[in-house]
Amino acid sequence: MSTATSQPRSASAPTRSSQPGTEPGDKKAAVRARSRWASPALVWGTVIVSFFVLLALLAPVFTLITGNDPYQEHRELLGPSSVPTGFGGGISAQHWFGVTPLRGVDVFSIVSYGAQVSLGIGLASTVISTILGLAIGLLAGYFPGVVDALLSRTMDVFFGFPFLIFAIALSAVVPSSFPRPLLLILVLGFFGWPGTARLMRAQTLTLRERDYTTAALVMGASPWHILRYEILPGLLPLLIVRTTLAIPGRIGSEAALSFLGVGINPPTPSWGRAISDAVNWALVDPMYLIFPGMALFLVTFGFNLLGDGLSDALDPRKGEKA
């Protein structure tokens, strides 16, 4: 094999998934399992993520309540230098998060409709990168030699490639009739797989050496059978954790691309674009930065908690020990 044995890599790759600390003492496994599924991280992660999912889904309902949408201008709420008048950037009963400088668009609408964009793109692109990463990781891990070397070098190319350049070029080349959200999903998905693949490869390498795999091999099982029934189930817990932890990264990348101006086109609201606008106004109208910034932070935080909680609950090593 071209890289050092898999063990260290498998430990280093999932930087965010902490291995669980087993409770000291001799509690029963069932109790332990239940408490794992009720850990604060898992509970709070679920609460925060659900909150944003609801916010995204209910965005049109909020529009009915407040009468605001993320397109309408409220110039009457701006002072002579185009800064919102009133407390906290124009916070009022009608505009819960105030309005933006320059055009007076309702910030709450931007955050709620922006959640649709952020979550939608984050989830969809993660699905793509997970499928790619799993497939490539499995192949590389199971077929050492040429296949592995080829796939591993491909990963290296992706790691070393300036993604930004590609994103800029693509946004310019693809005609404007092509739906931008779909483009972002594809780009983020296509560039997001190497991390997952590396992890899956390492884990596959470990599982390959396991007794039950060797046993299946001796009994003449086809590679497909072994991959499907012996290795894949062993990968699932790690994959779920990795996927949960990858989502916030994608959401952040979407925000960053919109921030750069090659993400979602206006007038479709986007957290990233709101943040990039708001950074300039931070000292004058801090609330404009705080609301979308907090939304981005909280969603990331929520998914990270969820991932940690899942990792504790699903930890594959524990399954082995039991």
Partner: protein, 559 residues
């Protein structure tokens, strides 16, 4: 990978933004104080001495007269003297005065031949005397492929210049004659009444004969102005110190108050503005090389002490909505777009009532010969009824127009989108990276609408109109972004250009202005006001009617 790309993208956005703010000829986000002055009223008197700091978001400063596009009254003006120079005054138009020359140039043969005489006793920063050969050599250098990229008006005017590839292989450009060390004669391929203005551009600065072979000459060039370059490190700083061979008595424009000037490059404009307003570090003796970012501007206006540090230009660059005339061919539709546009909403999105004055003409205020007119009178917020009526006349075409914008223009673009929707015109905004944006608008033409802005390179109607509306300026990265092509207008432009009698020429230009607007190739939006910032000890910091930038040549420090 993931982490890195995120960082990369986020950061690129900041760069694009600050570049847009830095503005270069075409200012993007000009904003001004409601009653903000154009400077120097409340400032203490400047004294000789001290170190002036300029904070800029720019990452490199090219000082090569051949490839620099510097304005005559900013950085390049402090180190490079040229045949003519601009004398900026607070009130009144910029005046053309002789600099190296004894007068602003004598036209003959109906403006096809121009003769300049150099002052005697002038010296380079290396002590060598300045002769007409050095001026000629400087111009010839600009034709070498190695040194392209500068202000190239002379390249289209000098006879026989098309096939000339620079002096480094021993060829001379015969249309520049130097009968003696003091005299220089230019032979043009057409009558050109404003060659005296062209001779005030940085390309007309001398380079010692035979020198400047290396591509990096522009890092620390030999200078002629009151300063020479001590060091120039891209991304870090440029340090200018006094040039002992400069003689103040030969220079009617440059005041040269500070002993040295330090440019700090790669600054974040918001942070730099903050530093200057707070007076921390060198803030008190610094000025901001970029436009004041909108937020810092709003902040400064709320604080009287900081407001006094602002200087706002009068009506400056023309900001306009370019309509791609090759794609939107029906004049009635273009007129409908003009009526549907809400200029008040646009100005609000540009920073409020202080972002600029409403525009109706193509020649901008501050240019002599401009005549104020308003052909359509759409009012501040537009006239939706008229727009709809015009569209009905045009057969109610189903309009779905693509508006291309850079990431820093999204608010303005959204304002246009909302306004046109009122008349039933659907606008799709496509945001692009700034370099791709330039290519789309100035080359490929794959767009319907674009927001743009233009400040001429020298204060004349020619530099105002011809680059934007002459059909020869379509594509190749040139500024005729509306792809406007009208042979009649081309002819009028040629006629006005060739008129040497200034008064007559100006009259012609005013006619051209109106004639173009009859076709509505663009929708004039506002004349932007640029606002700049100085530290509390920076004196004589003022902006004239043209250009809409502070006059660096006269800035000094107070005690």
């Amino acid at each position: 990978m993931k982490k890195k790309s995120l960082a990369l993208t986020a950061v690129a956005a900041l760069t694009t933004l600050s570049l847009a703010l830095a503005g270069c000829g075409s200012s993007a986000t000009g904003l001004g104080g409601a009653n903000a002055s154009n400077g120097s009223n409340t400032q203490a008197a400047p004294t000789k001495g001290g170190t002036l700091t300029v904070l800029t978001s720019g990452t490199s400063i090219n000082l090569d007269p051949a490839s620099s596009q510097n304005l005559a009254t900013t950085t390049g003006g402090m180190i490079h003297r040229r045949l003519n120079e601009w004398k900026v005054s607070k009130n009144g138009d910029a005046e053309l005065v002789p600099d190296l020359a004894t007068n602003t140039g004598k036209p003959s043969e109906n403006g096809k031949v121009w003769t300049f005489t150099l002052k005697k006793g002038l010296k380079f920063s290396n002590g060598q005397p300045i002769t007409s050969k050095d001026v000629k050599w400087g111009l010839e250098r600009s034709f070498a492929d190695t040194f392209s990229g500068g202000l190239s008006y002379h390249k289209q005017l000098l006879e026989g210049a098309q096939d000339y590839h620079g002096p480094f292989e021993g060829q001379e450009l015969n249309s520049i004659e130097t009968p003696d060390d003091q005299t220089i004669v230019f032979h043009l391929n057409q009558s050109f009444g404003e060659f005296d203005w062209v001779a005030s551009l940085i390309s007309f600065s001398p380079v010692p004969y035979g020198e400047g072979k290396n591509k990096d000459y522009g890092t620390t060039p030999v200078t002629t102005g009151p300063y020479e370059v001590k060091s120039n490190v891209p991304g870090r700083e440029l340090v200018m110190v006094r040039n002992k061979y400069w003689d103040a008595s030969t220079d009617s424009v440059r005041k040269a108050y500070p002993d040295s000037i330090v440019y700090k490059m790669s600054q974040d404009s918001s942070v730099a503005a903050q530093q200057i307003m707070a007076g921390s570090g060198d803030g008190k003796t610094s000025m901001l090389g970029d436009l004041v970012p909108p937020a810092q501007l709003a902040q400064a206006q709320a604080n009287p002490a900081q407001k006094a540090l602002l200087a706002t230009s009068g009506d400056g660059a023309l900001e306009y909505l370019a309509i791609n005339n090759e794609r939107v061919k029906d004049k009635r539709v273009r007129e409908a777009i003009l009526y549907a546009t809400d200029r008040e909403a646009y100005r609000t999105a540009a920073g409020g009532e202080i972002a600029g004055g409403y525009a109706s003409t193509l020649i901008t205020p501050g240019i002599s010969g401009r005549e104020q007119y308003d052909l359509y009178k759409p009012g501040k917020t537009g006239d939706v009824k008229k727009a709809k009526a015009l569209l009905a006349q045009a057969g109610n075409p189903k309009l779905n127009l693509t508006l291309v914008a850079t990431s820093s223009q999204t608010e303005k673009a959204s304002a246009i989108q909302t306004a046109l929707k009122r008349a039933g015109i659907t606008v799709t905004i496509k945001t692009l990276d700034s370099t791709v944006y330039s290519d789309t608008v100035r080359n490929a033409g794959d767009f319907d609408l674009a927001i743009s802005s233009w400040q001429p390179d020298f204060p004349s109607p020619y530099a105002n109109i011809a680059p934007l509306f002459d059909s020869s300026q379509i594509g190749n990265g040139n500024m005729n972004e509306s792809h406007y092509n009208n042979p009649e207008v081309d002819k009028l432009i040629a006629q006005a250009t060739g008129t040497v009698d200034k008064a007559k020429a100006l009259k012609l230009w005013a006619e051209v202005d109106k004639r173009i607007m009859e076709d509505v190739p663009v929708v004039p939006l506002i004349y932007s006001h640029n606002t700049f910032l100085r530290g509390s000890k920076v004196a004589n910091f003022m902006i004239g009617t043209f250009p809409a930038y502070p006059d660096y040549l006269v800035v000094g420090l107070s005690k």
